[in-house]
């Protein structure tokens, strides 16, 4: 029977920290001394809202990413879920056991061996003795530490250490898992291995709340994203949608010369995702990154051999069209880059031309078509991003300054095989030649 009650619910949650001038004031306030002072004489401390009026709820099995700039309140939010920190306002309900992967390094000692560290850290993760043996073996297997296992941790390389920590932290099986920036441990090989381990949580139906600076990771694991900025909830919606809006916001910030890491910047985040969207000439609403004046994309199209569509069969031709409009008269040299993405945020491929030289007067249009005779995609939903760059006559490098236009995930389409499943990565084009039977 499906359980309708949410795994986690924040209702109007706020967290405020007073900003004391001295540790002495902090101590006096903590001990309640100021409450004894008449209200009129009581010192007023400025306060800082780490979180303000946050409401959302997470259903069981849902995986939610939390994004935002530094100081947005992401870690504060995760801390509140652990129940050791109390919200200043509002309520938090939890349904099920919470486990947090914020505290990597708990129970770890440099002098103890890898094996001792595994035991110690697992004990702190509350793993019962009866499961210890099985899990320890599994971790040893995962980490591939070999002979180092019985050496002190201090002899480990950074990568080996973080592998061990990751493996130990993810050895438990909670209902609600909160993760703070721990997926980036180790080299590419282990990043993949770690991702596979994370998928395990997904398959077991764990509810997850993930903070990461890697949008790729968020897209890979989360269906939904919450965007925080300076303690406020800016947007809460489908992962790709929110991330696209967030990236447009970051790009606009950097266009204004504001460091995206500066939490004090006064450029207000949008009230809704619509505010981050731009309407194209063909009526589409897209996430447009700011670019320099020159040409802008005005319309997009997607066709198979029969005409416009957003459903393709494997092996069908894929025709991508865009038209650009000039904002001012000029001789232009442009490069168009079209990128294909999976719904999980993985880049599938990139199509680009060499250079396109043309002259346009303001308001004039130019159409460009890219055609692949037979796409090699398999079942799934795909997104298409478009960019137009200004290049010099040698066709070299497009810095950010050279960007005319970028539309992130502006089109999407599905590839549906006519019958049966195919779970291949690509569908390879193929010509079969059969030798004629030899005549006797």
């Amino acid at each position: 029977m499906p359980d309708a009650s949410p795994a986690l619910r924040f209702s109007n949650v706020g967290k405020t920290f007073p900003l004391y001038e001295t540790p002495g004031q902090r101590a006096l306030d903590a001990f309640g001394f100021y409450r004894l002072v008449p209200r009129a004489l009581r010192p007023q401390f400025p306060s800082f809202d780490a979180l303000a009026d946050i409401s959302f709820s997470v259903s069981k099995g849902e995986r939610v990413g939390v994004i935002g700039r530094n100081g947005a309140g992401k870690t504060s939010l995760l801390k509140l879920v652990t129940d050791n920190f109390k919200p200043s306002r509002g309520t938090i309900e939890r349904n099920g056991t919470v486990h947090s992967l914020m505290q990597t390094g708990i129970g770890f000692s440099n002098e103890m061996t890898g094996r001792e560290n595994i035991h110690a850290a697992l004990a702190y993760n509350g793993l019962p003795e009866s499961e210890m043996l099985r899990v320890v073996d599994e971790i040893i297997d995962f980490c591939e530490l070999g002979d180092h296992l019985d050496q002190p941790l201090k002899t480990y390389s950074l990568g080996m250490g973080s592998r061990l920590q990751f493996a130990v932290a993810t050895a438990v099986d909670p209902d609600i898992l909160i993760i703070d920036e721990i997926l980036g441990a180790g080299d590419v090989y282990f990043t993949h291995k770690s991702a596979a381990r994370m998928k395990g949580f997904v398959e077991r139906g764990a509810t997850m709340l993930i903070v990461s600076h890697s949008m790729q990771q968020i897209l890979e694991f989360c269906d939904r994203v919450i965007w925080l900025d300076r303690g406020r909830l800016v947007m809460d919606g489908p992962a790709l949608e929110v991330i696209d809006a967030y990236e447009v916001y970051l790009e606009r910030l950097s266009r204004l010369g504001i460091s995206s890491e500066d939490p004090q910047s006064r450029f207000e985040p949008p009230a809704s995702s619509d505010e981050m969207k731009t309407r194209l000439g063909d009526g589409r609403h897209v996430y447009r990154w700011p670019g320099k004046k020159g040409v802008k994309i005005d319309s997009l199209s997607l066709e198979n051999e029969l005409g416009p569509t957003n459903k393709f069969r494997p092996g069908e031709p894929l025709k991508v069209g865009l038209s650009i409009v000039a904002e001012e008269d000029g001789d232009y040299i442009c490069r168009y880059v079209i990128t294909l993405w999976t719904a999980a945020g993985r880049r599938v491929g990139r199509i680009e031309n060499d250079v396109d030289r043309f002259t346009l007067v303001a308001g004039e249009r130019r159409s460009i078509r890219f055609e692949t005779p037979a796409q090699v995609l398999t079942r799934g939903r795909y997104f298409v991003s478009f960019s137009v760059y200004d290049v010099d006559k040698h066709g070299s490098a497009a810095a950010q300054e050279a960007r005319y236009d970028v539309l992130a995930h502006a089109l999407d389409f599905e590839v549906v095989p006519p019958g049966g499943d195919d779970d291949f990565l690509i569908r390879h084009p193929l010509q079969v030649s059969l030798a004629r039977p030899a005549r006797h």
């Binding site: 652990t82 109390k86 000692s109 103890m112 110690a120 702190y124 993760n125 003795e129």
Partner: protein
């Protein structure tokens, strides 16, 4: 009825916490001990070796080098007197030092949902117990062979348990206060020296001028030290006022300290 119930809850609450988490508490305390000695050649053997070494040094210094003689005590009794006071004091001082920083040094544990931060101070006290237990055992054996102790030593575990309770209570409060008043960690070492002076370890209570004896009675650690000495030096059980004061201060400290910690923890964790 409700009042009785409230009092019962108040007294039992810390025991429930310790009992419910006994497995993780035992394992992590062992890990903590192992960490303290990790990388050393002798490893965990130091847990036993350290108190033995200490007792040997003090015995040698007081009885054979300084040749201290206290009227009414044989040399063996005097050694028992000093050692008994010493192990109680060292365990307590170690717990104050380690316990006061137990939460602040492990603030990453505050994000843990498995290991309740309430256990951090308890763990800090537990890791100071081996010297007390090992030392107590050695002194008990020595005092039975060469001194005046007899079956009275059977009361030692009770006094040790009471000292554990007393210390936990103090450390719970100190650990929280240290979160906002970091000065505590610097202050503790001087507090410990004062404690060493006002506790009858190297001297006997009869040597203290009556006007200053009050100071000893205001020092709860003295109740435990005097009780150990009663058991190990005189072969008697602590009775009357001494036993009452010890039992009451232990229970009050244990349950009161825990109550305070529970009431104030969420307000204080924010400062970690």
């Amino acid at each position: 009825m409700t009042l009785a119930r409230k009092v019962g809850d108040f007294l039992l609450a810390p025991w429930q916490l310790v009992f419910r988490h006994r497995a993780i508490l035992t394992t992590t305390s062992l890990i903590e001990l192992r960490m303290m000695y990790a990388g050393s050649v002798l490893g965990l053997a130091w847990v036993i070796l350290a108190p033995l070494l200490l007792l040997a040094i003090y015995t040698l210094t007081y009885a054979y080098i300084f040749q201290v003689r206290v009227p009414g005590l044989t040399t063996a009794d005097y050694i028992a007197h000093v050692s008994a006071g010493l192990i109680a004091f060292l365990s307590f001082a170690g717990a104050l030092a380690g316990g006061s920083v137990s939460v602040i040094r492990n603030k990453q544990m505050l994000t843990s949902t498995v290991f309740p931060p309430e256990l951090l101070p308890v763990r800090a006290v537990i890791v100071t117990l081996p010297p007390l237990l090992v030392g107590g055992l050695v002194i008990a054996l020595g005092a039975m062979l060469y001194g005046s102790a007899d079956t009275s030593v059977l009361a030692l575990p009770v006094v040790m348990l009471l000292q554990f309770m007393f210390t936990c209570g103090i450390v719970w409060v100190l650990a929280l206060v240290t979160l906002v008043l970091r000065d505590i960690q610097h202050l503790i070492q001087y507090l410990v020296i004062i404690l060493l002076i006002v506790t009858p370890i190297g001297y006997v209570l009869e040597m203290v001028p009556p006007r200053l004896a009050l100071l000893t009675y205001l020092n709860p650690l003295a109740y435990f030290v005097l009780s150990y000495q009663e058991i190990l030096v005189r072969g008697a059980l602590p009775t009357g006022k001494l036993a009452t004061a010890m039992v009451l201060s232990s229970i009050l400290s244990f349950s009161g300290g825990f109550w305070l910690f529970q009431r104030a923890k969420l307000a204080f964790y924010d400062y970690a």
